[in-house]
Each structure stands twice: as structure tokens, then as C-alpha cells.
């Protein structure tokens, strides 16, 4: 599974996925995630959701997993869930009237008194 083991040449030197492979992986990921969103699945790694993921987005998942490296497959799904959770939390805070504190990285002015 994954890109490394599928190619014998990369067995020795562990080359990173090239731009082309990366782009394909990202495209398949987006298709898979679109399907998850459509079916209201937040955490695709959650064991309780797995049957639904496989029945509704089985094909997209298979293609996604075939186009990406193992570590990325897990990473992207975790990231999606984290991002969703964060976005919802922010939306909730804003609905309650919270104001964002503007924090900007301005190193050149930080030592001004």
C-alpha cells in the first residue's frame, strides 16, 4: 500500500512523493472529504462512523488511500476533524458575541517602548 512500497526503486532511498504524486493525492483527498461532508461525517477515523464511511464514500476512500502515503492518509483525516472542531468552536464563540483578539507577528516593532 502507499507509494513507497509500490515502487521497487524507492525501497532503498526513501524519496518523498514528487509534486505530481502530491497533487494526485490532494485531489483524491478533496473528493473523499467532499463526500464525507455531503454525508455529514466529521471523523472518518472514528470506528463508529466507519460503516457509514465505507458504504457512502467507499470508492472515494479507496482511491484516496491508493494515491497517498500511509502517514498522510491518517494525517489528513485527523486534520480535517481538528479543523472542523475548531471552526465550530470559533463559530460558537462568535455566536455568543466573543471578539477575536488581533494577534499579528510583528517582530520589527516588538521592542518599541
Amino acid at each position: 500500500m502507499g507509494l513507497f512500497s509500490s515502487s521497487t526503486e524507492t525501497e532503498k532511498t526513501n524519496f518523498a512523493p514528487a509534486k505530481k504524486e502530491r497533487t494526485v493525492c490532494w485531489e483524491k483527498r478533496d473528493l473523499f472529504f467532499d463526500c464525507l461532508t455531503k454525508n455529514n461525517i466529521d471523523n472518518s477515523l472514528d470506528a463508529k462512523e466507519l460503516p457509514k464511511v465505507n458504504s457512502e464514500c467507499g470508492n472515494e476512500k479507496k482511491e484516496f488511500e491508493a494515491s497517498c502515503v500511509n502517514s498522510w492518509i491518517k494525517y489528513f483525516q485527523e486534520k480535517r476533524f481538528n479543523d472542523l472542531t475548531r471552526a465550530r468552536y470559533i463559530a460558537k464563540l462568535e455566536a455568543e458575541g466573543a471578539q477575536p483578539i488581533p494577534i499579528k507577528l510583528e517582530s520589527s516593532t516588538r521592542k518599541k517602548n
Binding site: 502507499g2 513507497f4 525501497e11 532511498t13 526513501n14 524519496f15 518523498a16 512523493p17 514528487a18 509534486k19 502530491r22 490532494w26 502515503v69 500511509n70 502517514s71 498522510w72 494525517y75 489528513f76 499579528k104 507577528l105 517582530s107 520589527s108 516593532t109 521592542k111 518599541k112
Partner: protein
Amino acid sequence: MSWSDSVPVHMAPILLADISLNWTPGDIVAIGGSDTNHKYAKGGSIEFAAWKAILLFIGAGAIGTYFFSKEKERLRKQREMEQNRSVGKPLIGGPFSLVDTEGNKFTHENLKDENGKRFSIIYFGFSHCPDVCPEELDKLGEMLTELKKDNIEMQPIFITCDPARDTPEVIKTYLEDFHPDLVGLTGSYDQVKNCCKQYRVYFSTPPNVRPDQDYLVDHSIFFYVMDPEGNFVDVIGREANVKEGVEKIRKAADAFMPESERQKKQQSWLGFLYK
């Protein structure tokens, strides 16, 4: 014929004023002459001279203001950088020793440019990075293209946080997807760790992984801008877009003054401006 006959009525006040200013005995004699009327015939000439003076005045003022405010802004930036400098040695950056993709040694000395022009921009990442590094490196490429248009010389550097897998060969292949100027650096685990420490870069490789394994490396995401003397000047975070990043570097390049020149200016009679 007296001079007042030939002078239009509306000119009279100006003429009077003019004459009262230039009242010399010589003028009295000349006024009676026929061709002296000529002197006042072109009524506009006095106003024209005044206009020229006003224009000159405004022009000189505008040019003066422009240069003054520009120079003032430059001095302000320099003073600010000077203040930051005098606080102490910058906390970011320091000696390191790594190898580039051709197997040549690359140290902090390579950040210095003897012509005092070339800035360096350093990014820490790893080649198996899923999404952040490629995005940031693409952003870097766009920044470099913009800066080239402004003739700001740059040395872009990619330093791996994953020396186990990122050999010079792997990095070389990886960087082919990005800006051609990029210098890729790696080293032994300790060398990389030391370099990351100097730049206050956090990274964590999962324990007990073999180079042929598939894993991710967690690391901090920043671009470090280094001046032609190898000193840290600014940091560009992930939230900054291409335009903001370019602006920061441009600002640093504008304000940069080599050490020798800085000392000279401080010692000159205008030195108080730089303190």
C-alpha cells in the same frame, strides 16, 4: 506724453507699488522717454515673475519635504533596527554546520555576503511533509520572483528536520519541484538538532523510526530572514501571504546598512541622527 497715459487703468496700483520700490533719481529721467513705456507694456511680467518665484518656492518645498520625510522614515527604520540590535545578540541564529545537496559543507559563514547585498531566507521542513511544507515552499517561490523584480538578492535555504530520511540526494530530488535557487541542507541528527536549536525551531521525530519507514515530523513553521552579515532580522509566519512576506524583506533590505558604514555614520557630525 506722460507715462500714465499709456498705462491701462487696472495696472496703476501695481505700477505705483513697483515704482515706489524702485524709486531712484535715474528713473525719473528715464520715465519721460518714449521707450520706457515699454517696460510696463507687458503688464503680466511682474505677476509672471512672482508666479515663477512661488512655483519655485512650492517646488523646492515639495522636493525638500519629500526627501526629508523619506530620509526621516529611513532613519526611523534604521534606528529601530539599531535599537533591536543593541538589546543584545539576537536570540535567533548562530553557528551551524551542515551539508548541501552537492555534499559541500555549508555553515553560518555561507549566509554572509561580502558585497553586503544578498539576504538569506531559511525554511525548516522535511521532504515527506504532507501539505504545509509544499505550500510554504511554493509561497517562497512566489516571494523570490517578486523580490527579483525589485533587484533584491536572495539566498533561499531549505533545512531538513528529518535527517534520517532526507539525505542530500532525497532533498535534491524534492527541491526540483520548487524554486531553482533553493539550497537544500542536511547533516547528521546532532548537526540538524543543533541548527534547529540555534533557530529556536522545535521538531519531533517519532522515536525508534527507521529511515525506510513512513512517518511524519512535527516542526515549527517559520521563514527566517537573515541579513547579508548573517544576522537575524525578521521572521515570516505561516499566516503571512506572499505580499506581506515580500514587504517585510523589502523593508529589511531598505534599512540594511553594513556594519562599517553604520559605524562611520555614527561617528560623523550627523551621528546624532543615528543614535
